[in-house]
Structures are given as structure tokens and as C-alpha cells.
């Protein structure tokens, strides 16, 4: 199984090659960038085959000892089981398709300006970090990958660094996720103090023996891990960064801010499920956070004008479903939805990227309109992706994964969370088809040029196929790794709930059609002024969380900082620069530029020297 290392080595080699020769030709950069991830995907497929042929037992590969200080030993070890192999498949498979699409997208996006090698170097490095995150057999290695993906996310959000707003968006994403990471780090310290190891399997094995059910320390540890996951996965209360992260190139949004990195929080909680099972209060909290976030993000998505922000909020909402699933103990359903979401959300993002390029970098959906005729392929892809997102019954993959979550929620006795999920599904249908109707129906407002070529078509079509029921047929080898959480209900009861959620999704679609498929007069009048306008603005600003955090955290901090600008430490510290500054002005005054002054100083110096020689 030494093949496993190759999945890391190929993208790493690509990242190093692209970093060392940043001035290489664009075509070479695209080829290296996409091919390295493609090779990783091939190796992953081989690993899957061999692993399955050997019976699918968990497998550990220790590469070397990473850290050894006193009693503290950390191995650079890779751990392969059903969960990590599922994640590997998503990361390298979907990652490769997105890299392939990016090879088309970036050519049209950059248009002569340099940076192709920089882009693919970051993207390849991201794949390495993400693989480390899911393969690490101990929490420290996981944390290395965790920070690595955070770094790549920062670099790629700020990829168009010439625009200051993009750099600020990158700062925001980095700082807010860092808040979560600090909590996660403290959680790691706590786990190490209690158990004396960071090896995940040892931790999961020992936790039920050391901690009783509902132990306070177990609750604290689970809460810290949850906060770390919230930061990375853009869940309440650390959700504000994801919409601004859309400043990056669209393939980045697809890869990092939809398919892989933002689902790392879901992976982390699923990986540490043993801790959460002995902290039921915190596990309940996971579900509540997911339920509330999916509603907030869904409402925000209904009032966006930027196509990428609509999809970004839908991502937050869908990750909310995954958290809800984790909270109700539907571990396998959460990971299943994670994979299905990776398919249809990257399809939606890449199609949005295709539409944006076709409309000459226009992202405002109200300036598109009527693209159904010119962008036939994009239209159908968006319909497929949107249907999967809205979980339209039977034909879409999203139906099977989201329904499993909703059923598990109600079967495990979480009726309120089920209701949250159901309302969320209704909102999802509305905002998804609102976007599709506004972009592709109505009068034509811009002239679009459809994209073409293999790197454009192939990834989109593969992802579209995976977003239908075909994707839902992929079997995830999660038995034995995660508790199933599924409750076998009576066939007819299950059917009733499936019909309810299907009807809700279809009603949402119908309502979107009624509101946005015609002249859209009703909505236009309702949001023109008064309370309707205010509600629209409230939803548009994602329920005002940015404003709230600015008032609660940023402004008080700035106030305190301003108050301490002239304190006594400042005075002491300022002595050093004051001396340097005084010396500078004194010496520069001597350099007057006057020849006669120089002559006089020179003779004065000579006279002093002479006097010293004679009388000294």
C-alpha cells in the first residue's frame, strides 16, 4: 500500500515545480497543475481497488517520526479507512474535474495577465493539505492539513490581489477561521493532557473508558472541536466569511468553498464521533447549529444579486444539513450528503463560472437574463445541479442524501430539527430556481458566448451525471467506521415522510416559478419600499451578522485600542525611535551643501588634529 503516499507526492511535486518556475508558459502550468491532481486521482482509484480487495480493513502507514520531545511523540502516519477513502475519492476525483475546468476557466479569466503558475501552485498545494487533513492518523497531522487548507484558501481568495476588496475578503476569511482554529488547538491540548496521545484511534478507543457519559471535560473537548469545525465550515456563529470568500476565482469557490475545505468541519466531527457520543449535550448543539444555519443561509440566499453569493449561501445551508445530520446521530447520512453535495455544488459553481465567462465577467444575475437560448448546455447543467440542490424527488442525487438526513432526524426523535430541515428544503427550492429563472429566462439582457472545448465540457458533464440518481448509487464503505444512525422504519411511514419532503420541494419550485418566471412584478412591488424593502435588505445582508459583529466585537476593540494609543509604555518605547530621529535631523543639518561651510569644518578638524599631535 505504498501507493497511498503517491497521492500526496504527485500534487506536492506539482506545487513545487510550479512555485520554482513561476514564469513558465501558461500551457505548461495548466498541464502540470491538472495532470498532477489527475495522477493523484488515478492512484486513489488504485488504492480503493487494492484496499477493497484486501477486505477493506483499516490500514496505517507510518512514514516517519515527525516530532519527538520527551514523552511527546507524533508520527507522520497515514490512516486509511472507509471514511478517509471516501474523502480521498471526493478530494482527488472532484478536485481533478475542477482542476480540468480551471484549465479552461483561467485562460479566459486571466487574459494576458500573468499568474497561471501561481494559481495552480496554490491549487495543488491545497490538494496536498486537504489529503493530509483526511489521512492524518493523529490530530496534530490533521491540524497541519487543517491550517494548510486555511492558508491556501486565504491565498486563493486574495488571488486577484490588485483589488483591495479581495485582499480584505481574504483577511476576513483567514481571521474568522483562525478564531475557530484557536479553539480547535485548545481542544487538542485538552485531549493530550487527558489522554497523553493525539492518535485518533487511541483517543476514540480510550475516551469511553476515561470519561463517563456526559462528563464535563468530554463536553468541553467536544465543544472546542465543534467551534473549530464551525469556523472551517462557516456555521453559526463563525459563518460570515464564506460569502465574501467568493472574491476568489470561480474554480476556487467550487473546490475549496463548496466541495472540500468547508466540509472539513463535518469530517472532523464525524472522525471524532466517539467524543461527541459521550457528550450528548454538545452533539445536540451540533444539530441545532446546523438547523439554524441552514435557515439563516437559506433566507440570505433568497435576496442575493450575485450568482456566486447565491451559491455560497446555499453551500452554508447544505453544510447546515450535514451538521444537523451529525447532531441527530446520522453519521453515515452526513458523509453521504457531503459527497453528493460535493458533486452538485461543484457542478453549480463551475456552471456559474462558465456563465460568468460567457457573459464577459458579469456576476449580477439581474444583468444576465434570457440565457436559455444562447447557453443551452449551461442551462441544462444548471437545471440538473439546481434540482439536486433542491432535492427534487427520484431523479436527483440530492433527494436521496437529503431525505436520509430528514428521515434519520425524525426517526431519532428530533421533530424540531426535522421541521427546520423541511422549511430549509422549501427555501432551497425557492432560491435555487429563482436564480435559474432570473439568469436563463425572461428577456435577453446581454450577449453571451458559450464556452467550448474538452476541459470545459467533460468536467461539467461528469459532475452532472454524478448529480443525478447515478451519484446516489455510489456505495460508501462506512460500516464499521461510523455508526449508521439509520433507523429502519416501517416502509409506509418512511414513504409518507419522503412524499412530504418531495411535495415541499416541488411546492417551492412552483412558488419560485410563480414569482420569478414571468414579469416578476409581484416581487418587484413588494420589495420596492417600506417593510418589504427592509426585509429584502435584511436578507441581503445575511440577517445582519456582519453589522452585529462589527458593533459587538470590532468597534469595542477599536475603542479600547484608541484609548491605549498614548499610554506610558508607548512613551518608553518611543525613546528609541526619538533618538534615531534626532540623530538623523542633526546629521542632515550638517550636510548643508555649502562648500564654504565644508571648508571651514575641514580646517577646524585639521586644526584640532594638529593641536592633538603637538600638545597631546
Amino acid at each position: 500500500m505504498s501507493l497511498l503516499v503517491l497521492t500526496l507526492i504527485f500534487p506536492l511535486a506539482g506545487a513545487i515545480a510550479l512555485s520554482l518556475f513561476p514564469r513558465m508558459a501558461d500551457n505548461a502550468a495548466r498541464t502540470i497543475g491538472a495532470a498532477s491532481v489527475g495522477l493523484a486521482a488515478v492512484v486513489t482509484a488504485l488504492v480503493m481497488v487494492f484496499w477493497g480487495a484486501n477486505g477493506g480493513y483499516p490500514f496505517v502507514q507510518t512514514l516517519w517520526q515527525w516530532i519527538a520531545v520527551g514523552d511527546f511523540h507524533v508520527n507522520f502516519g497515514l490512516y486509511l479507512d472507509g471514511l478517509s477513502i471516501t474523502m480521498m475519492g471526493v478530494i482527488t476525483g472532484v478536485g481533478f474535474l475542477i482542476h480540468l475546468f480551471a484549465a479552461w476557466y483561467m485562460v479566459h479569466d486571466l487574459e494576458g495577465s500573468p499568474g497561471m503558475a501561481r494559481f495552480f501552485a496554490y491549487m495543488n498545494l491545497f490538494i496536498v493539505a486537504m489529503l493530509l487533513l483526511v489521512l492524518g492518523d493523529n490530530l496534530l497531522l490533521l491540524y497541519l492539513g487543517w491550517e494548510g487548507v486555511g492558508l491556501c484558501s486565504y491565498l486563493l481568495i486574495g488571488y486577484y490581489y490588485q483589488t483591495p476588496a479581495n485582499a480584505w475578503a481574504a483577511f476576513k476569511a483567514f481571521i474568522i477561521t483562525r478564531i475557530g482554529d484557536v479553539f480547535l488547538a485548545i481542544g487538542l491540548f485538552l485531549l493530550y493532557t487527558v489522554f497523553g496521545t493525539l492518535n485518533i484511534q487511541t483517543l476514540l478507543h480510550q475516551a469511553p473508558q476515561v470519561w463517563a457519559q456526559g462528563d464535563a471535560m468530554a463536553n468541553v473537548a467536544a465543544l472546542l472541536i465543534l467551534l473549530g469545525a464551525c469556523g472551517k465550515s462557516a456555521q453559526l456563529p463563525l459563518q460570515t466569511w464564506l460569502a465574501d470568500a467568493m472574491a476568489g476565482p470561480t474554480p476556487v469557490s467550487a473546490l475549496i468553498h463548496a466541495a472540500t475545505m468547508v466540509t472539513a468541519g463535518v469530517y472532523l466531527i464525524a472522525r471524532m464521533h466517539g467524543i461527541f457520543e459521550i457528550a450528548p449535550a454538545i452533539q445536540e448543539l451540533v444539530g441545532v447549529i446546523g438547523g439554524v444555519t441552514l435557515l439563516i443561509a437559506g433566507l440570505a440566499a433568497t435576496a442575493q444579486t450575485d450568482i456566486k453569493r447565491v451559491i455560497a449561501y446555499s453551500t452554508m445551508s447544505q453544510i447546515g444539513y450535514m451538521f444537523l445530520a451529525l447532531g441527530v446521530g446520522a453519521w453515515q447520512a452526513a458523509i453521504f450528503h457531503l459527497m453528493i453535495h460535493a458533486f452538485f455544488k461543484s457542478l453549480l459553481f463551475l456552471t456559474a463560472g462558465s456563465v460568468i465567462i460567457a457573459c464577459h465577467h458579469e456576476q449580477n444575475i439581474f444583468k444576465m437574463g434570457g440565457l436559455r437560448k444562447t447557453l443551452k448546455l449551461d442551462y441544462w447543467l444548471m437545471i440538473i445541479g439546481g434540482s439536486a440542490l433542491s432535492a427534487l424527488p427520484l431523479v436527483t442525487a440530492g433527494f436521496y442524501s437529503k431525505d436520509a438526513i430528514l428521515w434519520d432526524a425524525v426517526a431519532n426523535g428530533h421533530g424540531v430539527l426535522w421541521l427546520f430541515g423541511l422549511i430549509g428544503a422549501f427555501i432551497t427550492s425557492i432560491y435555487t430556481f429563482r436564480m435559474i429563472f432570473i439568469v436563463f429566462h425572461g428577456e435577453e439582457k446581454t450577449h453571451a458566448h458559450a464556452g467550448h472545448g474538452i476541459p470545459h465540457h467533460v468536467p461539467l458533464i461528469i459532475l452532472a451525471v454524478l448529480s443525478t440518481f447515478v451519484g446516489a448509487m455510489i456505495h460508501q464503505p462506512l460500516d464499521g467506521v461510523l455508526p449508521s444512525g439509520a433507523v429502519e422504519g416501517h416502509f409506509w411511514i418512511e414513504l409518507v415522510f419522503e412524499v412530504i419532503s418531495s411535495v415541499v420541494a416541488l411546492v417551492g419550485l412552483g412558488m419560485a416559478a410563480a414569482l420569478f418566471l414571468g414579469k416578476r412584478q409581484l416581487i418587484a412591488q413588494a420589495t420596492q419600499d417600506g417593510p418589504g424593502r427592509n426585509t429584502w435588505l435584511f436578507f441581503n445582508s445575511a440577517l445582519g451578522f456582519d453589522w452585529l459583529y462589527d458593533k459587538v466585537f470590532v468597534q469595542p476593540f477599536l475603542f479600547v485600542a484608541r484609548g491605549h494609543r498614548r499610554d506610558w509604555i508607548e512613551t518608553i518605547v518611543n525613546v528609541v525611535p526619538g533618538l534615531a530621529s534626532a540623530g538623523n535631523s542633526g546629521l542632515s543639518a550638517v550636510q548643508s551643501g555649502r562648500l564654504r561651510w565644508y571648508a571651514m569644518v575641514m580646517f577646524a578638524g585639521a586644526a584640532v588634529l594638529l593641536a592633538v599631535l603637538m600638545f597631546g
Partner: protein, 102 residues
């Protein structure tokens, strides 16, 4: 040359040197600055002559010839600078060329 004590000759040289130095520092006209420089060079030359005569050595004379040559070279360069100064600033006030201040 035994009658005249060396102090007289050296004293005259020192007086000439100080006169030249004063002129160099107080004068703003570049032409007068060049003349002051000539006076200072000749003061140095006089000191060599006096010392050479006192110790009956030819070295002083040799040094004086070198100084005369140096003074000639210096005068030609100085006058060249003077012309450039006049060309650039339309004046021969040395303080006009004080742009290289810190």
C-alpha cells in the same frame, strides 16, 4: 641665506596661509575663492623654500616645483568649474551650488 631666522619665513608663510583660508571661507565669489586657494598653495610653497634653505637641502625646491605644477592644474580645473557654474546658474556665487544638502 643665513642671516634671516627661519621663524620669519615660516611666520610669513603662516600669515599668507591664514589670509588665504579666511578668503576661502568668507568669500562667496568663486573667482576669489580660486585666488584664495592659490594664495594658500603659495604659502605652502614658501614654507618648503624656507625650510629647504634652512637645512641646505634640495628637497624643498623640488617640492616647490611640484606645488607650482599642482597649482597650474588646479587653476585650470577650477576655472573650468567656474565656467560650468556660470553656465548652469547664471551666477558665480558658490552658495548657489548648494543643492546636495541633507
Amino acid at each position: 641665506m643665513t642671516g634671516l631666522p627661519i621663524q620669519y619665513g615660516m611666520g610669513l608663510a603662516a600669515l599668507l596661509f591664514i589670509a588665504g583660508l579666511t578668503g576661502l571661507v568668507v568669500r562667496r565669489n568663486t573667482l576669489f575663492i580660486l585666488m584664495s586657494l592659490e594664495i594658500m598653495l603659495n604659502a605652502a610653497g614658501l614654507a618648503f623654500i624656507v625650510a629647504g634653505a634652512h637645512w641646505q637641502a634640495a628637497d624643498g625646491n623640488a617640492m616647490f616645483i611640484l606645488i607650482i605644477a599642482l597649482a597650474g592644474a588646479e587653476a585650470s580645473i577650477g576655472l573650468g568649474l567656474l565656467l560650468q557654474l556660470h553656465k548652469r546658474f547664471r551666477t558665480i556665487d558658490i552658495d548657489a551650488a548648494s543643492e546636495m544638502h541633507g
